[in-house]
């Protein structure tokens, strides 16, 4: 096996190239055929160039949203799997995602309508929901002993998810017909963001989250072998676990507030990446972020084109791919 330096360079180059292809090909695909040559034809004014308008105005925001959401959920999945020492963990496992959904449900149902610095109330409420959910789960897991209890974290997360789902149903029961329709649509997960503004609002949170996670890959390798083993090798386990939890939850919260709960990305992508690069988190984490972005762009391209009479919510496509994939993983073990 070549040294880690070589493997890291190859991994970053390969997956970056894949993402670059997805970023260019993504906006070209859709119900209306456009040509790349015409999109970048500088001799036609932008106002007259419908191909360029479709590329940049109609489709590019959606593709960039897919990239941001895909990268965030895939990276969060990698981190939660290492942190919980469980390859089947996902960004939803700790309840962060359901907390975000509950926040959005409440904002939609009770018509909470305001904007802070151009960000609408639904994504804000959703992000607040994810932070709240993390707070509760973290408090439970650190209450009983020094350090974080992985098993309490996992069980608290699963319980909180079920509890949030009940609150979501309760909220929907209270809502009128039109609001219920909106909440159900939101829960399907869609990348139809409409403009660049929501992406720019989520971007700083994702960048902060990625900066936090960037220091962690080697610690995650060791933490996956057990907290005591990691501490004995020199990892400051509690600090690393807190950083991992905060970074992965921020990324998840930002992604869910942007697109709703798009499922299975955080599970499918890391596993596919591991098949290619092995298990070293210094390779798996960046490769999963890059491949997650490309993968969700591809899923969204399918969602936009597979249905002749309209666009499917991308969450339905990822779930239809992810469900069987999850079962295959279970059986393969």
């Amino acid at each position: 096996m070549p040294p880690i330096r070589t493997r890291l360079a190859l991994t970053l180059t390969g997956f970056s190239a894949l993402l670059a292809v997805a970023l260019v090909a993504g906006p070209l695909i859709g119900s209306t055929h456009i040509s790349l040559g015409r999109v970048f034809d500088r001799s036609i004014a932008f106002a007259d160039n419908t191909d360029a308008q479709i590329f940049f105005v109609a489709r590019l925001p959606r593709v960039l949203a897919a990239a941001l959401v895909g990268a965030s959920l895939a990276a969060a999945g990698v981190v939660f799997q290492a942190l919980l020492r469980n390859p089947l963990a996902t960004p939803d496992t700790l309840g962060v995602s359901s907390g975000a959904a509950l926040g959005a449900m409440l904002a939609i149902t009770f018509h909470v309508d305001f904007a802070v610095a151009g960000v609408a109330s639904i994504p804000l409420a959703s992000f607040a929901g994810s932070v709240g959910a993390l707070g509760i789960v973290y408090a439970l897991a650190s209450a009983r002993r020094r350090g974080l209890s992985t098993i309490v974290l996992l069980l608290a997360g699963v319980t909180m998810t079920a509890f949030f789902q009940a609150l979501i149903l309760f909220t929907q029961y209270l809502a009128d017909f039109a609001d219920t329709f909106r909440t159900v649509r939101w829960l399907m997960g869609t990348l139809d963001v409409g403009s660049f503004a929501p992406i720019l609002a989520a971007l700083p949170i994702v960048l902060v989250a990625f900066a936090m996670l960037a220091t962690l890959p080697r610690s995650l390798d060791l933490i996956s072998l057990g907290a005591d083993a990691a501490a004995a090798r020199g990892v400051n386990v509690l600090a690393a676990e807190r950083l991992a939890l905060a970074g992965a939850s921020l990324a998840t919260g930002a992604a869910v507030s942007l697109a709703g709960p798009v499922g299975f990305i955080g599970l499918v992508v890391p596993h596919l990446v591991r098949l290619v690069v092995g298990s070293d988190h210094r390779l798996v984490l960046p490769a999963s972020a890059l491949f997650g972005a490309a993968f969700l762009i591809a899923c969204d391209a399918v969602a936009r084109t597979v249905w002749s009479s309209g666009e499917l919510p991308v969450g339905i496509v990822t779930a239809l791919i992810g469900g069987p994939f999850f079962l295959w993983l279970l059986v393969r073990k």
Binding site: M1, R5, A82, R85, A231, R233, R274, S279
Partner: protein, 261 residues
């Protein structure tokens, strides 16, 4: 090199202490066994000696400096700990696992270079595990895993190696492999070792000093020959035993004869 002064630990304030006022000193080059029945506090004591668990009372010093003044990374360059069992949830190769031992020697974003690889390969060689460096760790047998984890600890280039029941789940052949490996490492590489075990015959064969632990308290400590007697075995395990020097092996052996209550 390592000194514990009246060290205690309890998981909860009201609960009985797991380790109760233990004092001990480990000199460089020694091979010390901590003996005691299940639940006597061996693992807790070992974790405290390695600095991964902070005592609730008392103080431990390494090289005359309290453990709490050492950073985790700094300490891991000098002391390595081999846990009782290591489970890898992901498909790491044997070489991956051993290279992780270099963690405390590398900066946050530093990658292992040729020097680190050479150290890892040497650790593989001295534990007899070179042949399966490319194999997935999860596919190894218990004895092979234990030797690989010892190699990973050796890759930390420690002066002090702590081992928690290194032979507990191994069959006779693998037990002997690990026993001979530890004896050789102590003899040839001058690694100081402290190991916990409830296997009296392993301790008698391997360790020059013993610390006997019951209910978190030291009931005897000193040279193996002086400490391992029918009286101490009875006190530790509630078993009447014959302790005599084995005519061929040359060390003490313990044969249990009857249960006493």
């Amino acid at each position: 090199m390592l000194r514990a002064d009246r060290v205690s630990f309890g998981y909860r304030a009201a609960a009985p202490l797991v380790v109760d006022e233990v004092s001990l000193a480990i000199a460089p080059g020694e091979l010390v066994g901590i003996l005691g029945p299940n639940g006597s506090g061996k693992t807790t004591l070992l974790k405290m000696l390695g600095g991964t668990l902070t005592p609730s009372a008392g103080e431990i010093q390494f090289e005359r400096r309290p453990l709490r003044d050492w950073s985790r990374r700094e300490l891991a360059r000098r002391i390595a700990l081999v846990p009782q069992e290591t489970h890898a949830p992901f498909d790491f190769t044997v070489l991956d696992i051993v290279l992780m031992g270099r963690f405390p020697h590398l900066g946050t974003f530093a990658l292992e270079g040729p020097a680190d690889l050479a150290i890892a390969r040497q650790a593989l060689a001295s534990t007899g595990t070179s042949a399966f460096e490319a194999r997935p760790f999860a596919t190894l047998s218990g004895g092979e895993k234990q030797r690989v984890v010892i190699a990973s600890a050796l890759a930390q280039s420690p002066e002090l190696l702590l081992l928690d029941e290194p032979t507990a789940s191994l069959d006779l052949g693998h037990q002997l492999d690990v026993q001979l490996l530890l004896a050789a490492l102590n003899r040839d590489r001058r690694v100081t070792m402290v190991l916990s075990t409830h296997d009296l015959n392993l301790a008698a064969a391997l360790c020059r000093h013993l610390i006997l632990l019951r209910d978190g308290r030291v009931i005897a400590q000193g040279p193996t020959e002086a400490v391992l007697t029918p009286e101490t075995v009875r006190a530790l395990y509630g078993v009447d035993a014959d302790v005599h020097r084995h005519p061929i092996a040359g060390h003490l052996t313990v044969t249990p004869l009857a249960r006493v209550r």
